[in-house]
Amino acid sequence: MKVTLKLYAALSDYLPDAARAGSALELDLPEGTRLTELVGRFNLPERLTHLVLVNGLYVAPAERAARMLGEGDVVAIWPPIAGG
């Protein structure tokens, strides 16, 4: 299944060079891949995996291990950030 992974701010460093300019990477993942498996595949440190959205909706830390990804999902992740 096709899934888009977007990594922002300091997490951009975990993307391949070619994907950094857009902060996004298109992935072909096996059916049933879970959110935490995707995070693990890119070796994202837990302390930097702070704000996690799937299709723009927040996924709480406790829900991430069980969360199955689906065709066309867009996963976006940020380290701790804020603004105003």
Binding site: Y8, A9, S23, L51, L53, G83
Partner: protein, 615 residues
């Protein structure tokens, strides 16, 4: 005590400056800065007065922690009746000016009357006098600061001034200090301009004296700085990426108002984000962002310093704009970019520089340009009227409109009236994305429901800084709430409004609240100020300040009808993203909010509420 206990009263009509003792009874009830100056203003002017007339007053005010060792303790506010809104205006600024004013020995400066000719106020510690500003009138903020420093041969002098926009009474003109820090919203700069007041130049060498318990103050402020340093947001996120890191976040959650709020997501967001500001440009191999910067006493340092691409069409052959200067913050990038559909980062940076240079609020300016572009696309406004073709997405139109607005030329004079007046003039009041005539900031209330209630009930017109529920609804600070739900938002908005009122009155930056709670502020005030500054007292004080502002607005003629959102946000659902199909639920939230506040269904504080708060 953290206060200097001294107020400078300047009568511009008579040309006099006089010191008077700070009303300490009021200080115990309203703390300082926003709260205390609002108490002074509300007690001294008729809320129905013409904001640009001689009966309005304008106050520069510091807080008890301004100029002290408390982290971010460099803030000051400008308080007046706002010309954009007709409501209470209180605009907060950082930089170094506020601390300098306090170190000269003054808690606040109250200006009354109108000077017969342009003047500036010169403060050197205890001495204050009005000086002729004929040589400064017609100059930009940047020229004014340079001329004052050179004229007084004092490079350490701090200057808070208006540019040409304030002189021309642009209704969203700012007061700017330290070149690119601004008391930005509600048109406080136009009030200064209406009084022929160009600037305050101050040099303070006395330091802040009279801290109630110096040893304890040093200890507790050091502890609280450590909290800011250890917190991942205030210690790393904000200094590294600044507020601009929100651009992609708010786009992903579908709450990025785009093209005058026609859309809630912007396809060009990535190109104008914090991430883009750090990337090397193909043209010159350099990044837009040069470094971060801090205001006085700040241990967060979220400020952006940028350098433009010298070959960009806006600044080619104009080396005066090639130096490092204040860069895009999130609000400015949104207003100058998303609100107009412009995805040219350098054009946004240029427009932002002009906003700083001549003192206009980029939020109100950018949002008004969004309305202009929608009117242009509808055929209501023409190229001949505007002076340029102005479809959504035109960087050239954005740059042109910024130039003519700050100079007060041609159609720029209409832009300078703000979107409510402009849209009404051209027969489409529904296209003005405002509350109480002030333009929305960068969060769409369809995608972040609490921000709809925040805008509708903000005492200074639409504003994110009066209750930043984005912290909870999107970022999970202090607890995560659902941005698409209306339940619980009235209580959340009230809590944020009351707490922010206290932080804004203390002399510290509201960004500390990403790591601090009121329980972190209380011991710092307790060590600095005499008297009781318990958590309970501060919580009640925040509510008191909010209700004081509300009373001012009610007396000025505002009613519950003004606590409302533009029709678009209530009838045109979000087209994309998580909020697709949703409008804002203001009609559900507002009655509950009134009840939670202890107000009548008409939005008026009950006698019991006023008595409980000592109003």
């Amino acid at each position: 005590m953290g206060w200097a206990r001294k107020v400078l009263r300047v009568n511009l009509t008579k040309g006099t400056c006089a010191a008077e003792p700070l009303n300490m009874e009021w200080a115990a009830q309203y703390l300082g800065q926003r709260g205390l100056a609002t108490k002074y203003l509300a007690s001294e002017i008729d809320p129905k007065c013409d904001p640009l007339g001689p009966d309005n007053k304008i106050i520069w005010a510091t807080g008890p922690l301004t100029g002290t060792m408390a982290s971010t303790g460099g803030r000051y506010s400008v308080i007046t009746k706002g010309p954009l809104t007709g409501a209470i205006a209180c605009s907060n600024s950082g930089g170094y000016f506020g601390a300098e004013l306090k170190m000269a020995g003054w808690d606040m400066v109250i200006f009354e009357g109108v000077s017969p000719k342009p003047v500036y106020l010169l403060i050197q510690d205890d001495t204050a006098e009005l000086r002729d500003a004929a040589h400064l009138w017609g100059k930009t903020v940047w020229q004014t600061e340079e001329l004052l420093k050179k004229g007084h041969q004092d490079p350490l002098m701090r200057v808070s001034s208006i540019g040409r926009a304030g002189e021309n009474r642009v209704l969203f003109a700012c007061v700017v200090n330290d070149l690119h820090r601004a008391a930005g919203r509600s048109g406080v700069g136009a009030v200064a301009g209406s009084k022929n007041l160009k600037a305050i130049a101050v040099r303070g060498t006395r330091g802040v004296t009279g801290i109630a318990n110096p040893k304890e103050f040093m200890k507790v402020t050091a502890e609280k700085k450590k909290i800011l340093a250890d917190n991942a947001v205030t210690g790393q996120g904000l200094p590294t990426y600044g507020t601009q890191v929100l651009m992609n976040v708010i786009n992903e959650v579908g709450a990025l108002p785009t093209r005058n709020s026609r859309d809630v997501q912007f396809e060009g967001a990535r190109k104008i984000s914090a991430e883009a500001m750090r990337e090397k440009r193909p043209t010159d191999g350099k990044a837009n962002l040069v470094t971060n910067a801090a205001c006085f006493g700040c241990t967060i340092a979220c400020g952006r310093i940028s350098k433009m691409d010298e070959t960009h069409f806006t600044v080619a052959n104009r080396p005066e704009y090639w130096g490092a200067t204040g860069g895009l913050e999130y609000e400015a990038a949104w207003a100058l970019g998303c609100a107009n559909g412009v995805e040219d980062l350098e054009a946004l940076t240029y427009a932002n520089i002009l906003c700083n240079e001549d003192g206009i609020d980029p939020i109100s300016f950018g949002a008004t340009v969004g309305a202009v572009m929608e009117l242009y696309e509808m055929g209501v406004l023409t190229k001949e009227q505007i002076g340029i073709e102005a479809p959504f997405g035109s960087a050239k139109a954005l740059a042109h409109l910024a130039e003519i607005t700050v100079r007060g030329e041609g159609f720029g004079r209409e832009v300078g009236q703000g979107s409510r007046r402009l849209c009404e003039k051209y027969g489409h009041p529904e296209l003005s994305m405002t509350v109480k005539s002030q333009e929305f900031p960068a969060y769409d209330p369809r995608g972040i429901q609490g921000m709809g209630l925040t805008y509708a009930t903000s005492n200074r017109g639409a504003c994110h800084l009066r209750s930043y529920t984005v912290a909870s609804e999107i970022l999970g600070v202090p607890v995560k709430t659902d941005p698409l739900a209306t339940e619980g938002k009235p209580e959340l908005v009230k809590a944020f409004q009351d707490a922010t009122s206290v932080f804004d009155s203390a002399g510290v930056c509201v960004f500390t609240t990403f790591a601090w709670t009121m329980a972190d502020l209380a011991p710092q005030l307790q060590a600095a100020c005499e008297g009781d500054w318990s958590l309970e007292k501060l919580e009640k004080m925040g509510e008191r300040i909010w209700n004081l502002e509300r009373q001012f607005n009610l007396a000025a003629g505002f009613t519950a009808k003004d606590d409302d959102l533009p029709r678009r946000l209530k009838t045109e659902p979000a087209k994309t993203g998580p909020a697709k199909g949703l409008v804002n639920g203001i009609d559900k939230m507002l009655p509950v909010y009134y009840r939670v506040r202890g107000w009548t269904p008409q939005g008026v504080p009950t006698a019991e509420t006023l008595q409980r708060l000592g109003l």
